[in-house]
């Protein structure tokens, strides 16, 4: 039995709490960072608060091992007295959408081997994908996640606007969105690249720009140039 305290009532804290709670090998309590209780009797305290608050919250925690869940904060931002580590679940969480942790990669880091083993035991209770990732690697994963999640979602938003402006149901794009995401499981994204930018099809690019407003044109042009510059590098 591993005993865990999760600090923070946001998305990550709430989803982790529910994942751990449903596992009989873990005893878990959920705490509000503004009303901290004594955590000296748990094995691991997990800080799931905004990056700016990690250091301050960590100072009050007396658990033998304290970890944070941030992709971009380094392990050193923890200032607890005991051992330090990181447990970073690599997924986008929405408050009301239930998430199955089984296939969520969990990136672990710790100061020493025993702590890493304990974290691995904990993470393996809920996920099949557990990785040892150092702070430098984790930061590169975090910025990569911005590209494949935040920026990709923004592309969906821009397409949604274009569809709305031309009385087309956005749902017509759902199968293409799914296939685009599926495709890179079997071939690398550089091989999967298609379209007028990749083909240097100036006629189609011109047609597309004619349909767009100024802001959309700027993004279209910037990304078209970026695809073409990648093509030249190969």
């Amino acid at each position: 039995m591993i005993s865990v305290a999760i600090i923070g009532l946001g998305n990550v804290g709430t989803h982790l709490y529910h994942a751990f709670k449903s596992n009989s090998d873990i005893h878990v309590i959920h705490l509000n960072s503004r009303n901290l209780k004594d955590t000296s009797n748990v094995d691991i305290a997990i800080i799931a608060v905004s990056d700016d608050a990690i250091t301050e919250v960590s100072k009050h925690l007396k658990a033998p091992l304290v970890v944070h869940t941030s992709g971009s904060a380094s392990m050193d931002e923890l200032q607890n007295i005991g051992s330090k580590g990181v447990l970073y679940p690599l997924q986008t969480f929405t408050k009301d959408k239930i998430v199955d942790f089984t296939n969520i990669p969990i990136c672990l880091e710790a100061e020493n081997g025993d702590d890493l083993m304990l974290l691995e035991k904990l993470a393996s209770c809920v996920s099949k994908q557990v990785f040892h990732i150092n702070s430098e690697q984790r930061k590169s994963i975090h910025v990569s996640a911005v590209f494949v999640n935040n920026f990709v979602n923004h592309m969906y938003t821009m397409a949604h606007t274009i569809c709305n402006d031309h009385n087309v149901p956005f749902e017509i794009l759902h199968p293409l969105i799914k296939e685009t995401a599926d495709k890179i499981k079997s071939i690398s994204p550089i091989e999967a690249q298609t379209g007028p930018a990749k083909r240097n099809d100036a006629k189609t690019i011109k047609k597309h720009l004619d349909l767009l407003n100024q802001h959309q044109q700027e993004i279209y042009t910037k990304l078209t140039e970026s695809i073409q510059s990648y093509g030249k590098k190969l």
Copy 2:
């Protein structure tokens, strides 16, 4: 029984041919555009060649109804003597990857009601998602598809490069990529937007920029500003 000739041996032509061939209500032949036979005895000739060649190929076709499969070419580019139309399957095709047409949206356009009904009968044999889409709407779908397919795939490529440069397996991002694509089926992409740009989290944005090369920084900054400008419009 509908008899069909498909002209063009590229991805779209090949995938359409195989989809039609497996259906007992359709008789289909597959022709090379450089070696055209008489098509006057088929019901529909489907031109699946590059946009630039549509007009030239159409001049040689004597089928009563000739359609092209392009998202960006207008119906008027057809110069056959008989009726004209469009049958545009909205999907990304790869030569060696088998595609199930059942859930691929097929966008239809025709000059008159009878032809539209015939195209609908044909398309419904292979797909559950058949739409009547005029040339203007189809062009907006085509440019939207560039955003959700070509540009999204380019975001995957950029993340792939960042991962490679930091010795992180790109596969660690697969579950996030899948969840990002799934999420917009239940909530709109503007609601699904998260991340440092959306939160105006200047500290994290600075950390990310420090990890990137100049080209990556330019794209990151442009898309961050774009997300922020969308936020202000709401």
